[in-house]
Symmetry: C2
């Protein structure tokens, strides 16, 4: 069994619709490559009791918990003290991070707000931030990342080698241009039943020129099974009078 993961997106700006989240897709793709099963994502507001309760529940339910957002210097950046509270740990200056940020900022600009970014749950291990210095951190199975996408991605890549991995997900896609899901459904159900250990997914697409079709994705941990299921999908599309097109994205 691959390890499981949950992403907690912490931020009023996503719940208000102000900001389009793009971090979930990045982390989701990387976890699939690393053989970690993303089982759930929750988007929650910048409210202390909600964040604390959600972290407490998630860290018990999943092997890895990733949070994004809420680790900057302003009053609405409360992820780090909430993680400390969820673990029952004090939230304290991390001396090495303090020195790093003190050296990063010009003389006199490492103010109280910025010193909060050097304040971590006791025992946390910083995740380096090659973009703007202020680190994320891991404590137990909870990994706290920035919300700004390019910083989040850099932190994730710093963290990735140390995560407990599993078997990468194998995936093969065939597109049926001009076919509808309703025509494919019966044949797909048969294929899913023949390969109960795989996920056979069916996703309609529509091109800018107005032509549409369906993408059929076979996914799972056993590459030979995935290939066999994808061969069956290819044959199904051909049998319905359409030329199967392989690969991603849709043609």
């Amino acid at each position: 069994m691959n390890p499981t993961a949950c992403i907690l997106v912490i931020g009023n700006e996503i719940l208000s619709g102000r900001t389009q989240d793009v971090n979930v897709q990045y982390i989701a793709r990387r976890l699939a490559e690393l053989g970690i099963t993303l089982a759930e994502v929750r988007i929650i507001p910048d409210r202390r009791p909600v964040i604390v309760d959600t972290i407490v529940a998630a860290r018990a339910a999943f092997d890895h918990v990733f949070t994004t957002g809420g680790i900057g210097p302003t009053h609405d950046d409360i992820t780090a003290p909430c993680v400390a509270e969820a673990f029952g740990l004090p939230w304290v200056i991390h001396p090495e991070t303090f020195r790093l940020l003190e050296a990063h900022f010009p003389q006199g600009e490492f103010n109280a707000a910025r010193q909060r970014m050097a304040t971590l749950p006791q025992g946390a291990v910083p995740i380096p931030n090659p973009v703007s210095s202020a680190p994320g951190f891991s404590i137990g199975n909870v990994h706290v990342l920035a919300g700004v996408p390019r910083i989040m991605r850099a932190m994730f890549e710093e963290l990735a080698p140390s995560l407990r991995h599993g078997t990468p997900v194998a995936s093969q896609s065939w597109h049926a241009l001009g076919l509808y899901e309703g025509a494919l459904a019966a044949g797909l159900t048969d294929i899913q039943e023949r390969f109960p250990g795989l996920d056979i997914g069916s996703y309609p697409f529509r091109r800018p020129d107005g032509r549409g079709g369906v993408t059929l994705v076979s996914k799972g941990l056993d590459p030979a099974q995935v290939r066999a299921a994808a061969d069956a999908v290819q044959a199904l599309i051909a049998q319905l009078g359409c030329t199967p097109i392989e690969g991603e994205p849709p043609p």
Copy 2:
């Protein structure tokens, strides 16, 4: 108090990173306009027990629950029977929808898979689908929408007039080009403390030309308070030697 809402995004394709969700942002913006507080979003897989348990929990915890995805004709489209199970209701042919879809498809093409799209929890009220006919539905406080964005949006707009509304969220944004969050943090904390009923949010941005800054958003239900807080934000930016720029998106 405004009514609360939760969005359940149902779909392996989001959790695998294959697909970038765009439905959350659309619904989030519309709910803010309608005065409905989006309190949580959960992205969950196409797994029956997970979907059922999540719907049971969400419908008890929030005034409105919106689901997206999983209402097509294929084997992985299991939202409707899961909602029926969560309500303890039979999942039965909805005669009016059956007739609608029978008339929509060419003779002989309204097959068993497509008939599933006319099968709803007993007592459900269909949500019209002006794009491709197969409807969503509401049962109790759970509103079941398509996953394909243009169909989801059309269904949402069909549904919106019948939702219990509240007071629309008022919002005013000021941008500080060239300022960092760390310089603004102390002043912002003061403003947040003066306006405890509002959310004062701070969001760094970075333009394609490499110049960055911070957007400061004042949000709440009382437009006069929002204006007063935004005036204080404007003054803070000016006091730090920067010219405040109003509006959305960032300059």
